[in-house]
Symmetry: C2
Subunit: 326 residues, 2 copies
């Protein structure tokens, strides 16, 4: 299976590493908007090419994994490249998924290609677990907790405050809330009761730290509804202790069974990730395999993780899967 990557940031590098771990896959090319001469990749024998050249490789690539951002890149790139390639993306603006789906679906169908969108862990594996758990436990409550992990959006929001040089924000689930859900208590939880926010900030020399802390804690949407802690640290500490991108979280459904709903059953799916982008990349690569198989079987159009038979993600045959994993 011949794969290509569009966009070589954290996610693109993760995809490159994930492809290396799969014997049935080969990275053919990385397409970039930058000057290809300035981009150096790790895979021997793969090309680095400008994105404008991508179309010329349409017959040499089985699946293109698009690693752009959801705000402005993917809404344009995924429908555009679905005309030439089977494509996968990690589009994560939940509210705009129906619109993105429609755009990718028409482009892919017209050209006999498969597009699988919103692949990753949320949306992605968390969505799948919400779906399975809801289909099984019809009478129940859903809970999603994120963290402990770095939120890039919240880190960026802090960096925009005057006097801030660098910042890292961790989203942390409230352990007592998680325990209450695990105990089947079906609590009603406010935003504040579910997560806390912990911020590490490098301030300019002589900056007013009290003002910065106050601006963070009162920032609408991002922090005002949460219990937020702010730690001022040196750039040295930032580089030493906060340069990784861990993340994760839990999806829990608590549901009643029995003729009178007398029994409680809890389904929990939990991710603990040293590297958020590398894990997302691994999910993208598994779904790239499914896209390839589906297209070989004559299918086209837009799909999500909800539509993909799990066996298609694996390099093993159906017989091997039944014998060893069932």
């Amino acid at each position: 299976m011949k794969l290509a990557i569009l966009g070589y940031g954290n996610l693109g590098r993760g995809v490159e590493a994930a492809i290396k771990q799969n014997d049935d896959m080969e990275l053919v090319a990385v397409f970039t908007r930058r000057d290809p001469k300035t981009v150096s990749i790790l895979t021997e024998n793969a090309k680095v090419l400008h994105v404008d050249e991508a179309k010329n490789y349409k017959d040499e690539i089985d699946v293109l994994i698009i690693c752009g951002g959801s705000a402005t890149d993917l809404p344009v790139q995924t429908p555009q490249f679905a005309k030439y390639f089977n494509v996968i993306d990690s589009f994560d603006t939940h509210a705009k998924i129906p619109e993105h789906f429609a755009n990718v679906d028409s482009a892919a169908k017209e050209n006999g290609k498969i597009g699988i969108i919103s692949v990753g862990w949320d949306p992605g594996m968390f969505s799948l677990n919400r779906l399975y758990a809801n289909a099984i436990l019809t009478d129940g409550c859903d809970y999603t907790f994120w963290g402990k992990g770095v939120s890039q959006g919240h880190s960026d929001a802090i960096r925009r405050i005057e006097g801030v040089i660098d910042a890292r924000q961790y989203t942390v689930p409230v352990e007592s809330a998680v325990e209450s859900v695990r105990n089947g208590e079906n609590p009603d939880l406010t935003t504040r009761q579910k997560h806390t926010r912990e911020c590490f900030v490098v301030a300019e020399d002589g900056a007013d730290k009290a003002r910065i802390e106050n601006e963070i804690k009162t920032m609408p949407n991002y922090f005002a509804d949460y219990d937020t802690t702010v730690h001022f640290i040196t750039m040295e500490e930032m580089k030493k202790n906060h340069s990784a991108l861990p993340h994760g979280g839990l999806v829990i459904r608590s549901g009643k069974t029995g003729w009178n709903g007398e029994n409680t059953n809890i389904i929990e799916y939990k991710l603990t990730l040293d590297s958020n982008p590398e894990f997302t990349a691994c999910v993208l690569v598994a779904y790239a395999r499914a896209a390839y198989k589906l297209n070989k079987a004559g299918e086209s159009g837009c799909k999500t993780v909800f539509d993909i038979p799990p066996a298609l993600l694996s390099s093993q045959s159906p017989e091997e899967l039944r014998a060893h994993l069932l």
Copy 2:
């Protein structure tokens, strides 16, 4: 969707309760090997009929949920009834799944029906999670822990000992082993290091308790390889404290990502079930919906959870699922 149940034990009663929770489903009949007059069910308007009459209802039932045992019932019943009905079973003899699959596949294909086998939580939801986690984290280790929960097989084994009136055996995962796996330590665990076994036994008056305890603890396959605790209790205590059938467990995969495998990521799926048979029943009923939809779409043959697109399990439309659960 019109459903019927074959076999009205713990699992069959669980299926009846699960059908009641799904508005798009109706229980039409319960088929039994007993005298139907002796079987009283909870659903108004559903019939209780002898199993020999089942064939006569082949045009009135969309899916037959077969609730027999894996040792002797299902290997015969599932292929036999796949000639007349779309069928679901919870066949759980892992080693014989390929053979059972082949038998159900030929019967179902010849008659244009769908058969979904080995549906439940292990095999079933645990298998699915092993598959997803293996496809995503290619370089990793799998761990499955069961419990805390009642093992019927081990309870039965104790009941066969002379002087034992009743017994209940709980399989208990070793918490330190689970924590080591969660910490990404990839431990090599012996049978003894993964689970302990806790037994509650009602002995006959005057029975030699020391002999019973020794017979339990040294029983090959069932107990000899485990740290086993035996508690002698009264029949009153047994009925009061040990009449439920809780179970559950965890599937964990720990895998490396990154160009040099420098990051560790943990995927954990955990079930905590007040009622093992009722939860299994809920999974069967969700897959019955998928069998119905697949057959309506013209498909036939044997399937497992690995083959079923997740969206088919839900009563919601693809559009609703994308808008609300993705």
